[in-house]
Symmetry: C2
Subunit: 310 residues, 2 copies
């Protein structure tokens, strides 16, 4: 197996591209895929300040490294979720990565700063852990990016993640989510611009990138995610990708080319119906039962900390 680019001995193949690469050319390939994603979707303009949401895993640390390699001014944000050993380990990886490279890492800790952790919060609010965690991270990411004046918030969602999310959204024809599923969500009042520069790279490529770059990341999956629906969607798509390499990429990019615009209006309708959370000021569709509009994060926090509905 020869490297497609330099014809030396290859160390990794990428079936989707029907290509193999040696170490240095594989790193070049990864940078090119990120560069191309950023350019194609106009994710980041020159000179902008980027905040990278890092979990300590391969995707987010790989993304932070790739953005710095490509010359972007990128700091990190780690959110402590209070999920026992998993959070301890992942936080340590994020801190060590930043420290070794002299890079700035902002930290927000849910238990310390907001008085609850994901296990307790999800129980108290009767929400699935992944749902409570996702809404908390989105809230803290956005709030922190705005508070520190970053131009853009970057997350490490890769091709496999995005294809699985898309699959879940079409399985249930969640038209609002489909309208919002895009690698760039422009800034709107109360929301920072959000970008996903890894959408052209798969999980396996990110793992190989980190190994080749000597990035020490947390390997375990979150223990609370075991058996969730999203993993079922990933498995289903993996089985199809195994038979027909490239299907995931054509599913995601075909949607962006020929599907997304048909749903964009549904997301705009939802956005226009937002009002400000009466506690934190974040935009929210509010409580369907009327009354003061508390955003989902403030409702979760109120239930988790026993501070009533306010």
């Amino acid at each position: 197996m020869k490297c497609r680019r330099c014809r030396e001995q290859a160390v990794i193949d990428v079936r989707r591209h029907n290509a193999a690469f040696c170490g240095p050319c594989f790193l070049h390939h990864c940078r090119e895929q990120v560069r191309r994603a950023i350019d194609d979707f106009e994710m980041i303009r020159p000179g902008e300040r980027v905040l990278v949401a890092v979990s300590g895993g391969k995707d987010s640390l790989g993304l932070w490294d790739l953005l710095r390699e490509l010359g972007y001014d990128a700091d990190g944000l780690y959110v402590g979720l209070g999920i026992g050993d998993y959070s301890d380990t992942s936080g340590r990886h994020a801190r060590e990565f930043a420290h070794e490279r002299g890079m700035k890492l902002i930290e927000v800790d849910l238990p310390t700063d907001h008085g609850f952790d994901i296990p307790d919060g999800s129980r108290a609010a009767h929400r699935a852990p992944c749902s409570a965690c996702g809404l908390s991270k989105r809230h803290v990411f956005n709030e922190t990016a705005l508070a520190h004046g970053y131009d853009v918030l970057a997350t490490g969602h890769n091709l496999d993640d995005e294809a699985a999310v898309l699959f879940g959204n079409v399985l249930h024809w969640e038209t609002g989510y489909l309208g919002r599923q895009h690698p760039v969500l422009p800034a709107t009042p109360g929301f920072a611009r959000k970008v996903k520069p890894l959408i052209r790279l798969g999980e396996r490529e990110l793992a190989a990138y980190c190994v080749l770059r000597g990035i020490d990341y947390v390997v375990e999956e979150c223990p609370m995610a075991t058996g969730n629906r999203h993993l079922g969607y990933k498995e289903a798509l993996n089985a199809i990708e195994e038979r027909s390499p490239g299907t995931k990429a054509s599913f995601l990019f075909g949607f962006l080319e020929r599907g997304h615009h048909r749903f964009a209006g549904d997301a705009v309708d939802e956005r226009e119906a937002l009002r400000a959370c009466s506690r934190c000021g974040a935009p929210t569709p509010g409580d369907a039962r009327g009354g003061d509009a508390l955003c989902a994060f403030c409702r979760l926090r109120a239930r988790a900390t026993g501070s009533g509905h306010r």
Copy 2:
């Protein structure tokens, strides 16, 4: 396990509906699902003559039986595909079913009437067997329905079939196919109305229906379909349905409610670009390379019978 309807001992459960039924109530359930599909989508009007495309399998024989039980004036159409023992067996089941019930079965035999069979045709035209077979059946179904003056052509596509086709169409964002994927395709010049009255019933329900009704159907799958993509899509959806019963139905019906209309224009665009096949007169997008427009079936037949491109 008690029957949901009469509280007697149940013989079959339908997880999607979180229900179980005794034999007679299960047959009632199947008829109600077909009646509801026909009503909801205005598939067949009172007094119309229906042509049912029958393969000798559980779905199409079950459909024919169900339509007669519901009081429709329905004849059958069997198309011989020349696929060795499989075609011999399936044709025998279709004939015996019709004969035992004194029902009219029209037969068209590809080798006898058109000079080729599916194995030779697909080889000669360099098409996958399922592709050559599908286009041949669609052509003969439509031509026969029009020639005999039927108001509507009914096919035995069930919920599992339609969900798998939808999955393939969204995986590749085939926008024209998505625009045409509907349980009713109205009659247009050169096309009979096409309906799919089984979309509310799954494969397992059809098999149970035939067993309970004493319908003797061909059990083997077509030997040429082994390993095709469509079966891979079915397996992927089955794994998800197993974890979350009802997902397939919500995928298909959610599309019909909230997705389909967004793609309908693409199908209309394609339909308006049709012209008449210069040989058989059927509507066709024609040959992209220009020249006389031969429909896909006439092109396949010409290649398979060695009669040149004409």
